[in-house]
């Protein structure tokens, strides 16, 4: 149901585009609008759900703690029988309808595109920033590229995924907590310096 021109969740927040210490290896925080669809298998239909998502989106639903990528779509494990599918922002409405039809009787399909907000935290110091906000071990030996987890970041529940070894983390948080989380990230990044990209502005690669 996403309208094409989504407003930034931080439209009125008073944060500037950059701040903190000027050290040259500032972290980047980017608001990344996305289509987010929560799928939860009906009782005993997990295999059917996995087969259907593989067919529809070429996505192999991942095991706990993992994520899967196919083209510009990805899937994250949320809970037993439940996954979050992330797709580009602009085709949300159509994708929700398509999945709802394809998964009829197999899974509950719920649009969360507006319910959750994706913040991408990247830069050499991204792990150091998260260590201030999160009690999960994010060392590459414990949390490799593609790993995902739902945990507390800045005291709120976030679903986190390591996108690449920049490192870049996607933090998926309840939309009503997005400003809070952004402010927590900015505070934690203050010693390194930070820059902020809002939705609607140029997207990071």
């Amino acid at each position: 149901m996403s309208a094409p021109e989504r407003r930034s969740r931080f439209g009125g927040a008073s944060l500037p585009a950059r701040g903190g210490a000027a050290q040259g290896d500032a972290v980047t925080i980017a608001e990344c609008p996305a289509t987010l669809i929560q799928v939860t298998a009906r009782k005993g239909r997990q295999d059917a759900l996995a087969a259907a998502t593989l067919k529809e989106l070429a996505l192999a639903l991942p095991a706990p703690g993992a994520s899967a990528l196919a083209g510009d779509c990805s899937a994250l494990w949320l809970q037993p029988g439940g996954w979050l599918i992330q797709a580009p922002a602009n085709d949300g409405n159509a994708l929700v309808r398509r999945l709802a039809a394809a998964l009829d009787g197999i899974a509950a399909v719920v649009d969360q595109s507006h319910g959750r907000c994706v913040l991408r935290l990247s830069g050499q110091q991204a792990r150091a920033v998260l260590a201030k906000l999160c009690r999960l071990d994010l060392h590459p030996r414990s949390f490799a590229v593609g790993a995902s987890a739902t945990t507390l970041v800045g005291h709120v529940a976030c679903t986190m995924r390591l996108v690449d070894e920049t490192p870049a983390f996607d933090l998926i948080v309840g939309a009503s907590y997005a400003t809070w989380l952004l402010e927590e990230l900015v505070e934690a990044a203050d010693a390194f310096g930070w820059q902020l990209t809002r939705a609607g502005a140029a997207q990071p690669a």
Binding site: P64, G65, L78, Q79, P80, R135, L136, A149, T150, T151, L152, V156, A157
Partner: protein, 91 residues
Amino acid sequence: MHLIPCPCCGPRAEDEFHYRGDATVKRPAPDAGEQAFYDFVYTRANPRGWHVEWWHHYAGCRQWVKVERNTMTHEIRTAVGPAEDIPEVQV
């Protein structure tokens, strides 16, 4: 702070969970009568030592995790999903 071995998510810090008390009591059948429901809601053994408890993983997989924990030493021995039973261990 405890480290709770969530059967879905692996070891996680206690602050991701809400403690939800005794997991040994089972909700009775709807026609089991008032006393049975009374015991389910109110009667607790409150043991010193090993105990099976609910820990709701609210900031993780949102499962009601059944945790076998020593109330005296805080040692945790087992954790299973909501519908599973913890195997009997001789203490």
